[in-house]
Symmetry: C2
Subunit: 391 residues, 2 copies
């Protein structure tokens, strides 16, 4: 289920606590077309700054990634370290450093333990192919509780291509470009500009509509590698198979974003918040994000309390154009509020909340804009995870 | 310690659970000059909408307030109920309904139990003067753990006036005008326009720089009554005593805002976040609010973890103009980051965090703008309080 021509490796470099892999390599046997999306936080980690320069070429062949240290707020030394990691890995692989991307996730503000990482890079390269994508997905985890992989087959003419992505999430999740680390690989040949536009499209509708805690990371990175080993004529927007590719990529991105929401720090429930009937898509997005980021809404859902008043309050301060007396709110299929007023069905709605997967549908009845945001509930465990993160 | 000419009353109207007062009256023996500040949430509770009309006259004589039900998202019936409460209380007191203000706090979306409130209004009036301001402060509590009163004497010429305020807070606290319920009384005569401007000034620097959970309420109301019973010539901006009055009012508002932060839902620590060196005051405010609203910063402080990387990340997405390599961060007097880099003093800073009152000082080194925002830490108890609020 792996796209053709991709090899993987992972090692323990003692960046995280003992017994967990924390350094990994993704390698394509041939040079690939690449595109990326990065955090819009003004404070950007060193590897993000480095990748943003490299991605301009649209080309790449490998990604080296570590967890346990974000290499963010590390100044000039951090840039040197990220550069050094790329350089050593590229030399070992015998490829140009410009084709080697870097990514980091973990604690902010500590220098990278290069004394431990450096010697492990050769081992990483020697073991290429001995490890699986699952191992890479596991080695990029921080507070994640399970590795995240999502894949989708795509018919391209008479051939079958594969799009496979991995990601990590859990906390400090509130994109505004991409969120977390995500690497997507495909053997389908795609024209680089098409790859770029399709990725940005997908990211905007998926990772950029995901929030765990409203905190935007310094390290958010989405990279896609299309190595063309399927042998199809490169896809452009005019290709017959473009729509299938575009749809499949969005599905992979959505699947990965949903996995992140399901594994939000301390989460017990996966929540989809759909806003319809907004004056514009932008308004729908504002409204959905305000609800998804409301601690009060998230704690009420955790407590199985269909407290739609908190949703109304969040809509009211969202900045979206709303009129209280027009708003309908559904928990699953149960209408808890109609035209801004209680339906008296809070108890039935409370039952909906006992499930693990919850849909909240809000109709503003103001226009045709709609947007969906993914999130999770908020629990005591979120507090514990984040009060103790560095200890 | 009560300004001259104010009388109080409180009763149990069975809006909240038995054994707690939930309906109260504040009455001035003479008509007072009044000013108010209200939530900017688009979803406004009925009493807020009513008061916003009445305050245009700049006059008032009494406030009837209940806890346990916010009378928000209650439509036309809610407006009728709020109007009815004011009307009945005004009739009982023998004053014009236009001089009677209403305020409510509690659960959103339920109709007011007028069958229980109505009959209690006469009792409330009969008992005027038998109850203290402390009783009123206690009867407006929801998830608050203590009543909140703050007072300040002011020399006006050769007389001594008094400014006394009460408020309630605890959750759904993120102003953008006022936050929560707050009633301030003074016997000092103040010209109405001056009262209005001075109040808005004070609110902008205090209640509007306070956040517990980033959720803006539908009911936020600040009302001030100046009944002039001190007998001084009414203060205007040109009066000799204007500065003392202005300063004292700001102190009372700050004192009350600090009490709200100290009693934030589940809070164990009171946090002042001061941003200096911003390009503008607006930038400083954005930066301070981003840090104060970050769940990750608040949970780290709860865990005594001087995780300044999370502060950097919040500054980075705040929208303020910042440059990573210029930022200094202090926890109390301990510099944890200088020019955007670790100082290696996280352990000493962790000690600072063990206190109950924490100052975080951030210097952006970009200009002269500064702002201070009040908040609290975030704990498992916040989750518990809000998962169970309506049960």
């Amino acid at each position: 289920m792996i796209p053709k021509g991709f090899l993987f490796s992972a090692v323990e470099a003692a960046i995280k606590k003992p017994g967990r892999k924390d350094l990994a390599l993704i390698y394509s046997q041939v040079e690939a077309d690449m595109a990326g999306a990065f955090t819009t936080n003004r404070v950007k980690a060193a590897p993000v700054r480095l990748d943003m320069r490299k991605i301009k070429s649209g080309k790449g062949q490998a990604i080296i990634v570590n967890s346990g240290n974000a290499n963010a707020c590390t100044g000039r030394v951090g840039m040197q370290d990220a550069t050094e990691m790329a350089k050593r890995a590229a030399e070992g692989l015998g490829i140009k450093t410009s084709l080697l991307y870097t990514a980091s996730t973990g604690v902010i503000g500590n220098p990278m333990p290069m004394d431990r990482i450096g010697p492990k890079i050769q081992e990483l390269i020697e073991n290429l192919g001995k490890w699986s994508l699952e191992d890479v997905a596991a080695s990029i985890m921080t507070t994640d509780t399970f590795p995240k992989i999502f894949r989708k087959k795509v018919k391209i003419g008479n051939k079958t291509g594969m799009i496979t992505g991995i990601c990590k999430g859990a906390g400090m999740i509130c994109p505004h470009m991409a969120t977390m680390l995500c690497f997507i690989m495909t053997d389908i040949a795609v024209h680089q500009k098409t790859l770029e536009r399709t990725l940005h499209n997908a990211v905007n509708k998926t990772f950029n509509r995901l929030t765990i805690d409203g905190d935007m990371s310094t390290n958010d990175t989405v990279l896609i590698m299309a190595n063309g080993m399927l042998g199809n004529p490169p896809i452009t927007e005019k290709s017959l198979s473009y729509l299938s590719f575009n749809y499949a990529l969005e599905e992979v991105a959505y699947g990965l974003a949903a996995l992140i929401a399901k594994d939000g720090e301390g989460a017990t429930k996966f929540i989809e918040i759909e806003v319809n009937g907004a004056r514009s898509e932008a308004d729908a997005e504002k409204a959905a994000f305000a609800v998804a980021n409301s601690n009060l809404v998230k704690t009420a859902i955790y407590g199985n309390d269909a407290n739609w008043g908190r949703i109304m309050a969040a809509l009211g301060y969202s900045g979206a154009d709303i009129r209280e007396e027009k708003v309908d709110i559904y928990f699953g299929k149960v209408k808890v509020a109609g035209k801004g007023l209680a339906s008296g069905r809070d108890k039935a709605a409370g039952e909906v909340l006992r499930k693990k997967h919850i849909k909240i549908i809000i109709d503003l009845n103001m226009g045709k804009g709609s947007a969906k945001v993914l999130t999770c509930d908020m629990t005591e465990e979120y507090i514990r995870v984040n009060a103790d993160y560095r200890t």
